[in-house]
Symmetry: C2
Subunit: 354 residues, 2 copies
Amino acid sequence: MGKNKNVTFNDIAEYTHFSKTTISRYFNNPDSLTLENQQIIADALEKLGYKENKVARILANGKTEFIGVIVPDLYHHYYSEILDQILATYETYGYKFLVFIGNEHEETERRYIEELMAYKIEGLIILSHTIPSKELADLNIPVVTIEREDEFVSSVNTDNYAGGHDAAILLADHGCDVLLHINSNSCKGTPSYGRVQGFTDVCRDKGLYHEVFLRNLGVDYTATYPALVSIMDEIENKYPGHRKGIFASNDNVANIILNILVRKYGTLPDSYQIIGFDNSPISREAVFPITTIAQKIDVLANEAVSILVAEMNERKKRRPVLSQQPVHKTIPPVLICRETTEGHNCFIENKRSH
Amino acid sequence: MGKNKNVTFNDIAEYTHFSKTTISRYFNNPDSLTLENQQIIADALEKLGYKENKVARILANGKTEFIGVIVPDLYHHYYSEILDQILATYETYGYKFLVFIGNEHEETERRYIEELMAYKIEGLIILSHTIPSKELADLNIPVVTIEREDEFVSSVNTDNYAGGHDAAILLADHGCDVLLHINSNSCKGTPSYGRVQGFTDVCRDKGLYHEVFLRNLGVDYTATYPALVSIMDEIENKYPGHRKGIFASNDNVANIILNILVRKYGTLPDSYQIIGFDNSPISREAVFPITTIAQKIDVLANEAVSILVAEMNERKKRRPVLSQQPVHKTIPPVLICRETTEGHNCFIENKRSH
């Protein structure tokens, strides 16, 4: 038999002298055959060099074992790391992932979802922000979102509020008398706005002097840098002689603030403490490693897939009980102390194992 | 008809009074029907709310439109960016990507390839380094590799030799009298060893004083930092008073060298010039933006998919002419000048559009 020729059910039937129906049963309902006959067919498959065709099996049992994933981009480490962790769950659950990058174009993402539905995906994980959760719920397959609007579908989110709260407490504990938060003015209505709220609430509760800068920070490094130069000028002029604690909306912002100060003073002056958010590589690789609030990306990814698998399994039952309410999980972040804050009253950094 | 019930060929046949064979022809060979009959069936599909089932179509024409991708990890920006660009080719060619992260485990990657073959992928893109190209060629489907051993399969690689060459020339032009290259001692036998060769050859040809440090640089930031502290001590002791030009194996190494110097001197001293490799985000976001040799990741990704699509299309012909020789493409890198080298004799940086 030629190397390129696929072994068909016909070939197997001919070789074993069973009917094609029996061969088909072997693949789709093996328990309907005796163990002896199962063995005969198994031996024949090996002899003939049969290659499993999952596509054919899908048609038989209707289950593709495909999960669709839509990510906004892979340029930001947050997204590439979470995709990495999602793909790694193949080892646990065996689901395969069809991945699309949406670049936050609503119509493009709608087309991708249509394509995914045509491939009979069993579930969908959405990290992009464009399509309302109501519309996702109407797809009528299990959907889990991560860190985005999630009213009508199941979701996993970081406890951003706790992150903002912890950042303010740490800065105050480290003797900062002016607490500053810098964030994008477009963060309202997203889960990450919790960072602003957590920070503000604890400052108000404890009577800490604070100011929140919600500004247009641009979309990339080239745009963010000058925006932060101007904010830092403002801060330097407004609060001379104070010990300033800055909580930045993310590690990229924290790194630029650090670079502005180091380029000006040749070091990070004692009058500044800085905390970022995300624990992205830049926080570790900055000229002075940056204290940060880490999202537990492995937990976010694993919880998302685990919620999805539970919903997909339920639908495979003969009488599925589809839950009325979406499941929402919140994952607490972890404070990681490095050189931009002093003192030792926070968790010890866990080294990334790879 | 209930919302969840799939519309079958039977339903369409009943509704239109055509035979199931006619309906099947509509999907697989529409030109065999009159335009009028095509219209009747199209109208019926809309009335009945028929949803396209690509899985069923695959069985009819044998083409899955799947490409398998195996990436070592998504932690390194190089891999996530190249995956980003590969996935984006969906817009051009319509192929869908089944993605696996291999983490450089040979046996795991072999299992992934088996799984991909069971899903009848039409082609395979490999970025991981574990499985020999001979074995990949024996899969008997089109395979393209990117920046790895590629003797028996088609490939796309950066012209690393030209990168090493250009780095040495730039450092010499900028008045460095000692040219240093720092790289991992494990780079031999990989395409990236071309960086060492290009650097060394031009230094020899032009009689430039140079030294190459091939050392164990560890696998992550925590291990690389102390390794580089010790190399920099050695350099400082050995070459005082010289203008030292350092060509680092990649931007992460360049950034650590820069951080070591800035933490020691409060700035990047005039006695040092630094060039990295890759144009990864850290090169732009470093305390002094780092001059780097950029791999054209978009070109690498697009060339890889385009070679693969050509080979896949050839196999769809009635009488495919399978080429005897794998195709190897080499993409020249681009020098991007920033603040760690002085002068203006290199290309102007192009801003990333997103």
